[in-house]
Amino acid sequence: MSPDTRLLEIIHRSGRLQKFILGAGVGLFEDRLKARLGAKDAVAVASGAGALAIALTAAGIGPGDEVIVPAFCSAMVAATVIHAGASPVFVDVDIRTMVMDPRRIEDRMTSRTRALLPVHLFSCMADMPAIVEIAQRYGLTVIEDACSQLGAQTRGISAGLWGDIGAFSFSRGTLMGACGEAGMIVTRRPELGMRCRMLRNHGQQEGLRFIHKCIGVNSRMDEIQALYLIQKLDELDSILAERIRIAESYHRLLAPVEDQLILPPWRSDGRCYHEFVLQTAERDGLRSHLAQRGIRSQVHYPVPLPHQEAFASCLQHEDPFENAEAASRHHLALPMSTGMMDAEIKTVADAIIEYFHS
């Protein structure tokens, strides 16, 4: 039975037992995820953006602080930093992996820098060993946006747990999409977990109703989401394996045009194929070529964050953000879905090869 058929049972049970929000199901899901990832605490919240916002506040990021953020990622990341009262400081990304380039970080540091916020993107974790090393050297906090990268590991350590605190999303488009909005915060530091537990539920200490220790928010996971996600968690390994299968096929099939593309570097460590995203200078041409053949590809972030009007006031320097600009112009996400047939993958690859050979 698919999880979506079981969903009706879950909802029916939730209604019959009158279990609504942050109940036993949420506790169980938190425990399962904590055990699977090796976290000290896992705190279930209402969305991935909520997870990141609470993580920032729990880590003490606030007015006057600067947070280093990649120039190429979702605008939500920088907006969340601003929402916390801090300023995002943009840093360029790596040309191949499109994630934060640790070699650029030190140039961007000032006396106000408090945290590094790497974002794991598409199929690549940021270079966490290097980022954590810099953070330790300068006494900075590391907050990981692992929203789309549940299941990724580098050297056996999960995304979200290299730094001080990390955020996951279970929005529908992620590998483990919920049946509504949901997110999770993970941490190796129990005291940060405790703070998140208060912050997600109006600053109340657990078990103490209507006594508010700090200014919190309402960002809580519904029981329905937790019970649904517990079932999905059992399928995560097969979903991840499935993604690797599809990515491997793309790599193999696209070999003939490899020198006309930038493909995500192929290795298993630090990889999680949420999306298969290539880069080409002929992105727009390729995209319409694919569209003519009925193949849907996607452009996720057409404009680097520093060049968006919303963040114009955050710019302190005239850096060109070359790689972020290139990534914005060149990236293209290929179709990738669980259960995708070899023939479908081949159709996509053939169309790409055809484009470059004609």
């Binding site: 969305s47 109006h202 519904d222």
Partner: protein, 380 residues
């Protein structure tokens, strides 16, 4: 204090349950949920659209905008109304914390005001004294069963050019001179927290407004794709919208049932006056529609009464044990005990008894019987 009842006489009356009506509504709900599952769209899609349109019809609001919960609805509404850093918003200190934290999240400062002792809503007479040159808005909170004195408040805000932003999270069905709560100022909110008069099976909320500019801003703010500079957004789940749509059809019957049960409580508890004070609906010069969302009583001995009721199977809630001006989270605002005597005295005495459509008259009789036996035992 020994129990006056034997174990066999104990009856479980939880503070809230809609299990029975949920079973009754299941067939209808199931077909809506199947539609959601088939579409595989789980947040803010056709069910939310339909629910928004039904709420517009129910409240006569021009705009009803679904979001993740009532707290987010308040934050988005305040931001849409242009409330921000440097601004002050006057808000009662006896309410759920979100009334005031939402003001903080918008970047502004809550300025507390005491409540009217009879209705638990803000004391309009004290509002003027709190107005400074930074005051931008007043947030009345319609608590438990009735709305604040909106006519009196409007007189003040008209004179001083302040906005009214209503925390009508608890107020579905409440009306003031025919206008639904949330629509007497620039806008209001609804919370569909499960125990609310119209409750979901998880968190959900909504902004109500007649103002097209406010609506446009809220719609942009709830959707991060539309407004990059805003963190996160806030969306309602399709599943919750399906549940709410199903329940909305029976809302007026539910409200009528709540009123019946409340008057049953009134009659059964009358004999315990003055030890137990039952809620009073205050009639105003304008016609008002009250809705018994919460049946709030007062007792000098609530700290003993609550565990006594619990030991006899009766759930209660303490709305609220501590006024906002004395909460640690607002310590930086510098208020002191004694600043708002009405709210402080309410916090010492108020508790909410179970009240929901699935209850029976026998449940009410039982709860009142336990309260009577509590008073017999303390007087013995």
């Amino acid at each position: 204090m020994t129990s006056a009842l034997t174990q066999a006489q104990i009856r479980e009356v939880p503070f809230f349950s809609c299990a029975r009506s949920f079973e009754r509504q299941w067939p209808q709900l199931e077909s809506r949920l199947k539609e959601v599952v088939e579409r595989e769209k789980y947040s803010q899609d056709i069910m939310v659209d339909r629910f928004e349109s039904e709420i517009r019809a129910y409240t006569s609001a021009s705009y009803a905008i679904g979001v993740g919960n009532g707290t987010d609805a308040l934050i988005l509404l305040l931001k849409a109304a242009g409330i921000g850093p440097g601004d002050e918003v006057i808000v009662p200190c006896f309410t759920f914390v979100a009334s005031a934290t939402s003001i903080v999240h918008a970047g502004a400062t809550p300025v507390f005001v005491d409540i009217d002792r009879a209705t638990y809503t803000l004391d309009v007479e004290q509002v003027s004294a709190r107005i400074t040159e930074r005051t931008r808005a007043v947030m009345p909170v319609h608590l438990f069963a009735q709305m604040a004195d909106m006519a009196a408040l409007r007189e003040i805000t008209r004179k001083t050019d302040l906005q009214i932003i209503e925390d009508s999270a608890e107020a579905i069905g409440m009306r003031y001179a025919g206008t639904h709560a949330g629509l007497l100022g620039i806008g209001g909110v609804l919370s569909f927290f499960p125990t609310k008069t119209l409750g979901a099976l998880g968190d959900a909320g909504m902004v109500l407004t007649n103002n097209p500019r406010i609506a446009e801003r809220v719609i942009a703010l709830r959707d991060p794709v539309l407004d990059n500079a805003v963190y996160g957004g806030s969306r309602m789940d399709e599943i919750q919208a399906a549940i709410l749509l199903t329940r909305l059809a029976g809302l007026d019957a539910d409200i009528a049932r709540r009123a019946e049960l409340a008057s049953h409580y009134d009659a059964r508890l009358a004999g315990l006056y003055p030890q137990v004070r039952t809620p009073a609906i205050v009639r105003r010069r304008d016609d008002i529609t009250a809705v018994y969302y919460v049946y709030e009583i007062e007792s000098e001995r609530k700290k003993e009464l609550i565990p006594y009721l619990a030991a006899h199977g009766v759930g209660t809630e303490e709305y609220y044990p501590l006024p906002l001006h004395l909460q640690t989270c607002f310590a930086h605002l510098g208020y002191r005990p004694g600043d708002f005597p009405n709210a402080e005295s309410a916090c010492r005495r108020t508790l909410a008894l179970p009240l929901y459509p699935d209850m029976t008259e026998e449940d009410v009789d039982y709860v009142c019987g336990v309260i009577a036996s509590f008073y017999r035992s303390v007087h013995a």
